[in-house]
C-alpha cells in the first residue's frame, strides 16, 4: 500500500517573530478531496504554499509525493497543479497563449500542449474565449482559466487556495461542478476555504484550522457528529429582549448553548420540541428556527467564534 501523497509532522512556518503555522500534523491520501477550513489568517495559505513547494518550512517535517520540498521542490512542482488565491495569470498574453506558455514551463512538447489546452479550455467552458486577452474576463472565468492552466501537466495533486472566494453564487457552483468532476476522475484535491458549505460540498476529509493550529480533523459528517448535536435551534434576539434574561431562560433548554451577538444557538437532538418550548416561553415564532447542524457550528464550538466573524 503506497503512503500518503502529502504528510506533515510538526510543520511550522514563521515570518520573523510571527508564527503563521504552529506545529501541525496531517496526511493526505491519493484520490481524496482534503480541505483546510478556517477563518482568514488561520495559517491555511501558508500551509498550502509549503505543500506547493513555493515557501520553505521553518520547522518540522514535510513530504510531498514522497519527496522533500526542501531538496526536490522543482521535481515535486512538476507533478502538482496549483491555483493560488490571488490572480497570477499572464495578463500580457491571450487565454490561449497563457495555456501554451504554461505548458512550456513544464517542458511539454508544443503539440501535446495544444491538444490538452483545447480540451481543458472546453472543460472549463472557455473554449470560445481562447483569443481573448485575460483582463476582460470575469472573476469566475479567470479562476477557471487558472484551473485549466494548472491541469496542463496532468497533475497528481491539485492545490486550490480559496478557489471560490470573491465569486458570485453562479460562478461558485460552476466551479464546484468542475472540481467535482476532477475528483471523480481521480485527481487528488487539496483546498483551503473559509466557506463551510464549500467544505461540506467538496471535502471527503478536512482539518479545521484556527490561529495557526489544527483544532479538529475528520469527515464533515464525523466532525458534526463528534462536536455538535444533530439539530440547532436558532433564536433571534430583538431589541425588546433583555439579553441577560433571555439567556438565563434559554440556557437550560439546550444541551449546549452558544450566544452570538444577535442570536442564541441551542444544540439539541430534538429541534422541534425545543423550538416549541422556546416559542411558548415568550419568544415569538418568527424568531425561532430549527436547522441541521453544520461545520459552522463545529467551528463555533471549538473556537468560540463564528467563521465569518473576522
Amino acid at each position: 500500500m503506497p503512503g500518503p501523497l502529502v504528510e506533515a509532522r510538526a510543520l511550522v512556518k514563521r515570518f520573523g517573530s510571527f508564527v503563521a503555522v504552529d506545529g501541525i500534523d496531517f496526511a493526505i491520501d491519493a484520490g481524496e478531496a482534503f480541505g483546510f477550513l478556517g477563518p482568514n489568517g488561520a495559517g491555511k495559505t501558508s500551509t498550502m504554499r509549503m505543500v506547493g513547494c513555493v515557501s520553505p518550512r521553518s520547522g518540522g517535517e514535510l513530504q510531498v509525493l514522497g519527496m522533500d520540498p526542501k531538496t526536490d521542490g522543482s521535481r515535486i512542482r512538476a507533478r502538482l497543479g496549483s491555483v493560488p488565491q490571488e490572480d497570477s495569470l499572464d495578463t500580457e498574453l491571450t487565454v490561449w497563449d497563457n495555456m501554451m506558455i504554461y505548458g512550456r514551463y513544464f517542458d511539454l512538447p508544443r503539440a501535446q500542449i495544444r491538444e490538452r489546452a483545447a480540451e481543458l479550455l472546453d472543460f472549463v467552458q472557455l473554449g470560445d474565449r481562447r483569443d481573448s486577452r485575460v483582463d476582460p474576463l470575469s472573476g469566475g472565468m479567470k479562476r477557471r482559466l487558472t484551473i485549466a492552466r494548472a491541469l496542463i501537466n496532468q497533475p497528481e495533486l491539485l492545490l486550490l487556495d480559496e478557489p471560490t472566494t470573491g465569486l458570485d453564487p453562479q460562478a461558485r457552483h460552476l466551479l464546484w461542478d468542475r472540481l467535482y468532476e476532477l475528483k471523480l476522475a481521480g485527481v487528488t484535491l487539496v483546498l483551503t476555504t473559509h466557506y463551510m458549505d464549500e467544505a461540506e460540498q467538496l471535502c471527503d476529509r478536512l482539518v479545521i484550522m484556527d490561529r495557526a493550529r489544527i483544532v479538529a480533523e475528520g469527515s464533515p459528517r464525523e466532525l458534526i457528529a463528534k462536536y455538535v448535536t444533530r439539530e440547532v435551534v436558532e433564536v433571534r434576539l430583538n431589541r425588546e429582549h433583555d439579553r441577560a434574561l433571555a439567556l438565563a431562560k434559554l440556557k437550560p433548554m439546550g444541551e449546549r448553548v452558544e450566544a452570538l451577538a444577535d442570536r442564541v444557538l441551542l444544540y439539541t437532538h430534538n429541534g422541534d420540541a425545543i423550538a416549541n418550548a422556546v416559542s411558548g416561553n415568550g419568544f415569538g415564532d418568527a424568531s425561532v428556527l430549527v436547522r441541521r447542524a453544520s461545520l459552522e457550528d463545529v467551528f463555533l464550538i471549538l473556537t468560540g467564534r463564528s467563521l465569518e466573524e473576522d
Partner: protein
C-alpha cells in the same frame, strides 16, 4: 538533457515581445535614424568644422557606437524596473511561474538573458542604420552588438535585483533621472571622458556604460587595444556577477517567502 529552465522564461518574454513587434519595430529603426541624424550629422557637422575630429575619428563615427550602447542601456533600465515590479506586484505572473518547475532564480536569470537578447536585436537594427549612414567604418563593427548586449545585461542584472525588493514604483523615476540620465550623458557617449574634470573622469570609469561604449567604439572604428578591452569586458561581467549575487538572493526571498 532537459532544456535549461531559464530559456522558458526567455520564451515567455519573446512571446509577449512578438505580439508588440510592429510598434517596437518602428521605434527600433526610426529612433536610431533620428538620433544619428541629429547628433551625428547635425551636431557632428559643427564639431567637425571646429575641431576636425574627435578622438581621431569623424564625430558621426565617434557618436554612433555611443548612442548604440546608450540606447541599449536605457531600454534595459526601463525594462528592469516597471516590468519586474509588475511581475511580482501588479500582474503577479511570477507567482504563476513559480508554481511550475521553474524557480525564482530562473525567472531572474532568464530575464537578464532576455534583455541581453532583446538588446542584440535592437543593436543590430541600430548598427544597420548607422552603417547606411556611413557611421561604421570597420567590419568589426558587428562586435558592437555583443558589447551592447553585455552592457544591457549588466544594467538589468543590477536593477532587476533592486526592483524585486520594491513595493511601489516611487523610486523608479528618480533612478531614471538621477541615475540613468547622467550616465547617458557623461559616459563617453557624446564626448570623450577626457573632457571631464579630473575627479569626474575617474567617476566615469565606474559607469558600466563607459565600458560598453568603449568596447563598441573599438569595434565600429576597428581600433582595438587588447588589455583595455579585456578590462572593459571584465568590468561588465563583474557587474553581472555582482548584480547576480543580489538578484538570486532577492528573487528567492521575494518569491519563495
Amino acid at each position: 538533457m532537459a532544456t535549461p529552465q531559464l530559456l522558458r522564461v526567455v520564451e515567455r518574454e519573446a512571446r509577449v515581445y512578438s505580439r508588440m513587434w510592429r510598434g517596437l519595430g518602428f521605434t527600433t529603426f526610426v529612433q536610431p535614424a533620428l538620433y544619428l541624424a541629429a547628433m551625428g550629422l547635425g551636431l557632428g557637422g559643427l564639431v567637425n568644422a571646429h575641431t576636425g575630429s574627435v578622438g581621431g575619428v569623424d564625430y558621426l563615427d565617434f557618436v554612433a557606437p555611443g548612442l548604440l550602447v546608450a540606447s541599449a542601456m536605457q531600454v534595459a533600465c526601463a525594462e528592469s524596473l516597471w516590468p519586474v515590479l509588475g511581475g511580482v506586484k501588479w500582474m503577479r505572473y511570477y507567482f504563476g511561474i513559480i508554481a511550475t518547475p521553474i524557480g525564482p532564480v530562473e525567472i531572474y536569470g532568464g530575464y537578464v538573458l532576455w534583455i541581453a537578447l532583446r538588446s542584440m536585436l535592437a543593436s543590430a537594427a541600430f548598427l544597420l542604420v548607422a552603417a547606411l549612414l556611413g557611421a561604421v567604418p570597420s567590419a568589426w563593427g558587428v562586435l558592437a552588438i555583443p558589447a551592447a548586449a553585455l552592457t544591457a545585461a549588466a544594467f538589468c542584472a543590477i536593477l532587476a535585483a533592486f526592483s524585486i525588493t520594491q513595493d511601489t514604483d516611487l523610486s523608479f523615476p528618480m533612478i531614471m533621472r538621477l541615475g540613468v540620465l547622467p550616465l547617458f550623458l557623461f559616459s563617453g557617449t557624446f564626448f570623450p571622458v577626457s573632457q571631464l574634470p579630473a575627479g569626474l573622469r575617474h567617476l566615469a570609469l565606474l559607469s558600466p556604460l563607459y565600458h560598453g561604449v568603449e568596447l563598441a567604439r573599438a569595434a565600429t572604428t576597428g581600433s582595438f587595444s587588447l588589455l583595455p578591452d579585456i578590462g572593459h569586458v571584465a568590468f561588465l561581467v563583474g557587474c553581472i556577477a555582482l548584480g547576480g549575487v543580489f538578484g538570486v538572493r532577492n528573487f528567492t526571498r521575494r518569491l519563495h517567502a
